[in-house]
Every structure is written in structure tokens, then in C-alpha cells.
């Protein structure tokens, strides 16, 4: 079993660095809606607040393990080494985008880095991730699949079907249910029967007789331990686990939905904008996983204030450069649209 105590200084710094890089990427994306209105089209969803959960989970990963999240997908490839500039160019709809401008924010894909692609339809990719685990099992590659999805998605039938099949077939997969308290504009207390009964969502694991654990997703090291155990279990042929990682989405669900050419921006978080619950939002802000981990690392002497600032500055430069790259990249030429329909 993995213990957080075993994580060396470098690894702890790596975790912090990835968390900061995700945050900076998302902040840059959010600013784009003000700086370059209209540049990002459709619907864009950010992962701020999820950093500890994402990085803590992926810190347990072997190099060839698959990572398959939902449409809220920016954070993961950043950790996998996908160049943010290509991600940013994709969001700007440019030729040098990760998907050449065909996919946009909801559909990032970097199969070469074991990130096969995402879906904009709720829970659809849970089945795809389960299929990647089938490949790993059939080919006996030793790979594990990290499947991430939202609390809302755990109300879609495809989720239950997939986990049952994974359990029956003992597939090497870890299901991380990212409970960020909201599905779009709806608070989870309005639509999840476990939550309404005061139970954790990890109770759903009982429907498949697999381990179900709830973890504080704002603490990367706790996530590391809990996911690590599930990964070991999966890799050793014992099948899937369900982990409910609890954290709070720090931005609104997505940019406002408008009909072009009306401008679109990120509105206030739903806690305030919809429910008028400032206190809830402020509490979450006060518990920002990045600030907390930073303090902890400094307190424990892993990082100095100056080193932390350097990491943050580097991330800011990296994401600035990504935006410059995106802006410099040409738009695809129209006729390219007929490419890639068939393999």
C-alpha cells in the first residue's frame, strides 16, 4: 500500500507544480472570455477546485495507464505532459490545436499520451473508459484505467451498466466520482438519493459489491493514498473500485449560454448566482486546495516561499505563452472540414 509519507520531496513539488499549472491554465481560459470575446465558442468548463483530486489521483499512475475523464477535461492532459499551447490553440479553434480545431474544449484528445478522448454526453465516456480497461485485460498489458466523472453523471444509467460489467469482468479500472456538489446549476442535494439521505455517494459501490470509498478531494495526498490502493487492486486483477472524491468547483459550471453574436462570459458561481448562498462559496474559496497544499509544503519545509513563487511564475509564463501561441496559430481552412470523417 502506498503511504503519503513515502512521497519524496521532488514528487511533492511535482504535485504542487501540476496543481498550479492546471489552475493557471484555467485562469487563462477564463480571462480569454474577457480579453478575446468570441474567441472561444460553444461551452467551456473549468477544473479549478479539482486540482488536488486530479493530481493526487494521477500521482499514482504508471506511464502507460489510460486517463479518461468527462468533458470537463482540461486538467488531466496538463498532468500527462500534453503541451498547454496545443490545448489552448484547440480552445481558440486553431490549426495547431490538439485536435486541429475539430473538437474544442469538451473534446480534447491526446492518444499518444494515453488520453484517448472525451465525450460531451454525460456518462458516455464512463463506458469508453471501461472499454480501455477491457483492452488492457485482453492484451494483458498491465495497464490500469483512471476514469473520472461527475456526481451528476452518477445518475445516468450508463454509469451503473459500466461498473457492473467492469465488476463482472474484473477489469483494471478505478472509477473516480468527482463530487463537486453541483451538476451544472443543480445542487446535488436536489437530485441524488444518497445525498438526500445524508449518505456518501460511494455507497453506490454496494450495487456492484466493489469497494466504495469517500475521500477529501481537496487534499492531494489523501487522494493519492485512496486512489493508490484502488489502482493496486485493479492492477493485481481484483477489479474495479469506486472512489468519491469530494471537492468544490470554484468557477461557474461554464461560460453563459448565449446565441451568437451575443457575448458570453463566465457568470458568478451558481452558489451565489442561482442559490444566493455566498457563505457556501466563500467557505470553498477559503479551503482552496492549492493555497492549502502550498501552506502545508512550506510549513513542512518541502518548499520555500520563493520556490513556490517560482513555480507559480513559471506556470503563469507557460500559460501566457500558450495564449500567444494560440493567437499566432492560423484558423483551419474551411475545406479541411471534410477530413477525418472516416478512417
Amino acid at each position: 500500500m502506498r503511504k503519503k509519507e513515502d512521497l519524496g520531496k521532488d514528487r511533492l513539488i511535482w504535485i504542487y507544480t501540476q496543481m498550479v499549472r492546471i489552475r493557471e491554465f484555467e485562469e487563462r481560459v477564463k480571462r480569454t472570455f474577457l480579453e478575446h470575446p468570441g474567441a472561444m465558442r460553444g461551452h467551456t468548463h473549468l477544473g479549478d477546485g479539482a486540482e488536488a483530486s486530479i493530481v493526487g489521483a494521477l500521482a499514482t499512475r504508471n506511464e502507460t495507464d489510460f486517463v479518461m475523464p468527462s468533458y470537463r477535461c482540461h486538467g488531466y492532459p496538463i498532468v500527462l505532459g500534453t503541451p498547454p499551447r496545443n490545448m489552448m490553440a484547440e480552445l481558440y479553434g486553431r490549426k495547431d490545436g490538439l485536435c486541429k480545431g475539430f473538437g474544442g474544449s469538451m473534446h480534447l484528445a491526446d492518444p499518444a499520451r494515453y488520453f484517448p478522448g472525451t465525450s460531451g454526453i454525460i456518462a458516455a465516456a464512463i463506458a469508453h473508459a471501461t472499454g480501455a480497461a477491457l483492452t488492457a485485460q485482453v492484451k494483458n498489458t498491465g495497464q490500469v484505467v483512471y476514469c473520472f466523472f461527475g456526481d451528476g453523471a452518477a445518475k445516468q444509467g450508463g454509469f451503473f451498466e459500466s461498473v457492473n460489467m467492469a465488476a463482472c469482468w474484473k477489469l483494471p479500472i478505478v472509477y473516480v466520482l468527482e463530487n463537486n456538489e453541483y451538476q451544472a446549476y443543480t445542487h446535488i442535494s436536489l437530485e441524488d438519493a444518497n445525498c438526500m439521505a445524508g449518505d456518501p455517494l460511494s455507497k453506490k459501490a454496494a450495487a456492484f459489491s466493489i469497494p466504495g470509498v469517500t475521500v477529501d478531494g481537496t487534499d492531494p495526498l489523501k487522494v493519492y493514498e485512496v486512489v493508490g490502493e484502488a489502482v493496486d487492486r485493479a492492477r493485481s486483477g481484483q477489479g474495479p473500485s469506486l472512489i468519491e472524491s469530494r471537492f468544490y468547483r470554484l468557477s461557474a459550471h461554464g461560460n453563459a449560454i448565449t446565441v451568437p453574436p451575443a457575448p458570453t462570459q463566465f457568470p458568478e458561481h451558481e452558489a451565489i448566482g442561482v442559490y444566493g448562498n455566498k457563505a457556501e462559496f466563500q467557505a470553498a474559496k477559503a479551503n482552496d486546495p492549492i493555497q492549502r497544499f502550498r501552506s502545508e509544503l512550506i510549513k513542512n519545509g518541502v518548499l520555500s516561499e520563493a520556490e513556490a513563487s517560482r513555480i507559480e511564475q513559471a506556470a503563469r509564463s507557460e500559460m501566457d505563452e500558450a495564449v500567444q501561441f494560440a493567437l499566432a496559430s492560423p484558423l483551419p481552412s474551411p475545406e479541411e472540414a471534410t477530413n477525418y470523417v472516416y478512417a
Binding site: 460553444g42 475539430f102 460531451g120
Partner: protein, 326 residues
């Protein structure tokens, strides 16, 4: 007295009015009526206005069961593609239960969904899926293109004793128009001639009506008189009004936001090829989306979708063709 309102408001008005009129009408869906400030919720309470989890199969299936037992549910689905996870309920349950029971039950539900949000929503949120719902006996499909039709067809859909899929083009959501106040019902299954013309018939639905009317203006500037027909309902389809227009003009262009073989255009073309053949003086021409998914980036998306220019070109090419009597 008509009043200027936006398409979205027109739909909401019809729902509000019909819920006032009939206590059996209920309304629910995801991400609606979240708080007590919601006007529907204020007017009708949590019993009749509800919030649902992301569970389209259950949402629609529950509506069916509620309808079988006496309610008239409206389900807010937001984007029509989300119905695909529940397509069995839409095309293999709702429209068939009455028939299989030998006429004993009825299933008065309205499935409300936007479609074709051509604004960078990319491959899975921008599609038209009405083709999956056409030719399903028992199921009605309406697709209003103006605020007035949006209101009148919503009222008709709610009053209809059959399952009705009500599709509204996202791109028209904030378009304004005159809408009659109070009781106003547009009967399902009657096409509307949105513009009179004599040289060529353009049949279009939803957002494409707007584009076709714009194209008709361009054509008019060049002395070509185009008639624009909006079926308004795809099931049942008012073939007669379309054939009558073709009888007059002898030429037909069909405009559709979907790719060719998933278009309503193709179905209409087939009907005209059977029932209006003698009146055609040139081949039918379809202006549809190209055979690709909808790409994210704007120039790609524009390239794939029909637009005024393509419609004008198609109309002209049809007008240039002379029929060669074989």
C-alpha cells in the same frame, strides 16, 4: 392583441398558459426550477414543477407512465441529442403503447428540446436528430420557426393526446416576432407558406426558414420569385401544401440543417418525387449540411452548414435546368 416577444418567451408563455388551463399538465427537467424564485414554481408549486437528475431514460419513461395514468407531462430536455440515451422511450415506447394495447391507453407527453446549436458546440451538441423520429407511427414532431408558431405549436402539443416531440432551433431563441396573446393554437400537421412566390419553391424548417427567407430576398433582387414553405410539423407531414406549391412553381429546393441522409429534406423530396413528379420542371435539389460531424472551429462549422449563399446558388442552378422529356 399580438405582442412582440422572443422565441424563448413565446414557448414559456404557452407552457404557463396551458398549465393554468389544465391542472393535469406537469413540467420537469434538469436544471430548471432550482429555487423558489422560479416563476413556474411560484405559479404551480413543487408538485407540478420539478427538477430532475441527469436521467433522460427515466425522465421520459416516467413521463410516459404518468401520461398512461392521467397526467400530461412536459419534459424539458434542453438539447435534443440528450434524448439519444433514451431513444427507446422516445420511439419504441411512447408511440407504440397505445397501438399495442389496442387503443386502450394514450400517452400525451411533450418532449421539449432545442437543437442545432451551431455556435461552436462541436460534434455532439449541434446536431439535428429529427430523422430518428420521423416515420414512427404514433409520434408527432413539431419544429416551429417563429415566435408565434413557437407559442401556438406548444399549446397544440400540450393539448394533443399523443406523444409530441417539440424541437426548437437554438439559433432562433432570441429572435423576436409578433405573438398573439391569450388562447392561440397552431394545429399540428399544417405547413405554412412563409413567403409567396411563383418561380421556385423552397422548403425549409427551423433556422433554415430564416436563412431561406433571406435567400429569397436576394433572389428577389435578381428578379426571381421564391416561395418559402415551412412544414412546421415533420410528423405528420403536410405533403399537400408542399405539392401545391410545386404545382405552381415547378421547381423545388429543400434546405435542411442535417446531413443529406438524415435530413427531413430527403423525406420531403421522396414524397414530391412520388406525388408531385408531373409538376416538376427540373430535378429537385437539396441544400443540406455536408457529410461530416459539426466541427468546433468557426470557419469549419460555417463551411459545413447551409447558408444563404448556398441556397441562392441551388435555386439558380435549378432554375437553369430544363427538364428533358425522356
Amino acid at each position: 392583441m399580438p405582442r412582440e416577444m422572443m422565441y424563448g418567451e413565446a414557448m414559456a408563455t404557452a407552457i404557463m398558459e396551458e398549465m393554468k388551463r389544465d391542472p393535469n399538465v406537469i413540467f420537469y427537467g434538469q436544471n430548471m426550477a432550482m429555487t423558489e424564485r422560479d416563476p413556474m414554481l411560484k405559479a404551480f408549486g413543487r408538485n407540478r414543477v420539478r427538477i430532475a437528475p441527469i436521467s433522460e431514460t427515466a425522465e421520459i419513461g416516467i413521463a410516459i407512465g404518468a401520461a398512461m395514468t392521467g397526467l400530461r407531462p412536459i419534459v424539458e430536455l434542453w438539447m435534443s441529442e440528450f434524448m439519444l440515451v433514451a431513444m427507446d422511450q422516445v420511439i419504441n415506447e411512447a408511440p407504440r403503447l397505445r397501438y399495442m394495447s389496442g387503443g386502450q391507453v394514450k400517452v400525451p407527453i411533450v418532449l421539449k428540446a432545442g437543437y442545432g446549436f451551431a455556435a461552436g458546440w462541436a460534434g455532439q451538441h449541434s446536431n439535428c436528430i429529427y430523422h430518428t423520429m420521423m416515420g414512427i407511427p404514433g409520434l408527432k414532431v413539431v419544429l416551429p420557426s417563429t415566435p408565434a408558431d413557437a407559442k401556438g405549436l406548444m399549446a397544440a402539443a400540450i393539448r394533443d393526446d399523443n406523444p409530441v416531440v417539440y424541437l426548437h432551433p437554438y439559433m432562433l431563441m432570441i429572435d423576436s416576432g409578433e405573438v398573439p396573446e391569450g388562447e392561440f393554437v397552431v394545429p399540428i400537421g399544417i405547413a405554412d407558406v412563409k413567403r409567396q412566390g411563383t418561380d421556385i419553391t423552397i422548403v425549409a424548417t427551423g433556422w433554415m426558414v430564416k436563412k431561406s427567407l433571406a435567400a429569397a430576398e436576394q433572389l428577389a433582387a435578381e428578379g426571381i420569385s421564391a416561395e418559402v414553405v415551412d412544414p412546421r410539423s415533420l410528423a405528420p407531414l403536410d405533403v399537400e401544401t408542399i405539392v401545391n406549391s410545386v404545382k405552381k412553381t415547378g421547381r423545388l429546393v429543400l434546405v435542411d440543417q442535417a446531413p443529406r441522409h438524415s435530413s427531413a429534406a430527403a423525406i420531403i423530396a421522396a414524397e414530391v418525387a412520388e406525388h408531385g413528379f408531373e409538376h416538376l420542371r427540373a430535378p429537385i435539389k437539396m441544400v443540406t449540411a455536408l457529410d461530416t460531424s459539426i466541427p468546433y472551429s468557426e470557419p469549419l462549422e460555417n463551411y459545413v452548414l447551409p447558408n444563404e449563399e448556398k441556397i441562392v446558388q441551388a435555386a439558380k442552378s435549378v432554375l437553369m435546368r430544363q427538364v428533358v422529356a425522356a
